[in-house]
């Protein structure tokens, strides 16, 4: 039983890791954060694809890119660029915000 308990996560990890590398091309979107907010405030992506949102924090302080609708959160220090991946989204609009400065809001529109 113990062995099964220990093996289960490994098997789970293997199944999860496999398709991540099978998809060749990412749809990349550049997104900046300035002291005024997200730039651009609306970004777009095709439905079903693997999307890489490349976020650059051009503001003077740390931010947290967060979205309940995308199930993502990521702290980004001032001056840093990080990539946040979202995969296989249905058409619709997905709100995101900066959790450290909640007046900064944006939307990802998936078509």
């Amino acid at each position: 039983m113990l062995r099964i308990v220990l093996l289960a996560p490994l098997l789970l990890a293997a199944t999860a890791a496999a398709p991540a590398f099978a998809i060749a091309e990412d749809h990349t979107i550049a997104l900046a954060v300035t002291d005024a907010g997200f730039d651009p405030a609306e970004i777009q992506a095709p439905a079903g694809s693997r999307v890489r949102i490349e976020i650059t924090n051009k503001s003077s302080a740390a931010i947290e890119f967060e979205s309940f609708e995308l199930n993502r959160e990521r702290v980004i220090q001032s001056g840093q660029t990080v990539s946040v991946y979202v995969t296989g989204l249905d058409a619709g609009s997905y709100a995101f915000f900066d959790d450290f400065h909640q007046e900064r809001k944006g939307t990802l529109v998936v078509r």
């Binding site: 039983m1 309940f68 959790d99």
Partner: protein, 283 residues
């Protein structure tokens, strides 16, 4: 910050019980001179654990963003393993603890090595301290945006509750049932661990390293919003998210039932076959 309170309460209580057992033993053995060594060892352990917490924070800040995120995911997985081990496999340990500690303490007293007493206290408190640091790093990694002040407040409250609980225990307060305390907090901590496991996987998904399998299995935001009070409490206790991916759900479901079962088994161990008891004869 409810999980911080829970973790610090339980870890500090374990450390406080050990220190309390040593002090009680020395008081009973009339070895009052050893008492300050026990306090000295405990205080040193606390300081070294705090130093480790501070040092690991500055090491983290040196890493590049993606490495930091991977290290945080790693911390979450290590925290899950240690938390599980502590809750499930250390379960029966509280009962055997007193005898073992008293044996080692009396050996230290008999040979006149009071530094040995300090070492016993140091090792015991340091272990709980490092576990606390690891779990609190897990909490920070899970939520990302944890501000220091509420965490310090929750930590101090947890520490205070632990000291109060330990004092009640040593005063012989009859209503206090530590077995029940450890069982209830054990179940809660297994749920916290399941949440840490899911959020470690969520980080790897966000880094594009693993697939979510299905990005969104369901959407319960109409029922419990992520930013509501209930949503935050559930997020702290079980890693609640209104729109989880299939991988996170699978990890949670694969973890919780076997661990609850293992905890139950640890509480009611079956007697090994042939343990020397006479076999009841059939009437």
């Amino acid at each position: 910050m409810i999980e911080t309170l829970l973790i610090v309460w339980r870890e500090s209580l374990e450390a406080a019980l050990i220190v309390g057992i040593l002090l009680t033993f020395l008081g009973r053995a009339g070895e009052e001179s050893g008492i300050r060594y026990v306090w000295g060892g405990s205080a040193a352990a606390l300081m070294v654990a705090l130093f480790c917490a501070a040092a690991s924070g500055s090491v983290m800040a040196e890493l590049d963003p993606d490495t930091q995120e991977i290290v945080q995911a790693g911390i979450l997985f290590v925290a899950v393993v240690v938390l599980t081990w502590m809750v499930v496999w250390m379960h029966g340990h509280a009962t055997g603890l007193r005898g073992d500690l008293e044996r080692r303490a009396s050996a230290a007293v008999a040979t006149g090595r009071h530094l040995g007493l300090a070492m016993i206290a140091f090792v015991a408190v340091f272990r709980e301290g490092i576990e606390t640091v690891l779990f609190l790093w897990g909490v920070v990694a899970q939520h990302g945006n944890v501000t220091a002040l509420p965490m310090v407040v929750a930590g101090l409250a947890g520490g205070g509750l632990a000291i109060a609980t330990a004092m009640l225990f040593f005063r012989g307060f009859k209503q206090l049932d530590l077995r029940t305390f450890f069982r209830v907090t054990g179940i809660l901590l297994l749920l916290v661990a399941a949440g840490l496991l899911s959020s470690g996987l969520n980080k790897l998904i966000g880094l594009g390293l693993v697939s979510p399998i299905v990005p969104q299995v369901w959407n319960t935001s109409w029922l419990i919003r992520d930013d509501s009070v209930l949503g935050s409490v559930l997020s702290a206790l079980v890693g609640y998210r209104s729109r989880p991916s299939l991988l996170e759900v699978l990890a949670f479901v694969a973890y919780v039932p076997p661990m609850l079962w293992a905890l139950r088994r640890a509480e009611h161990p079956r007697r090994p076959a042939g343990d020397g008891r006479p076999v009841p004869r059939a009437a």
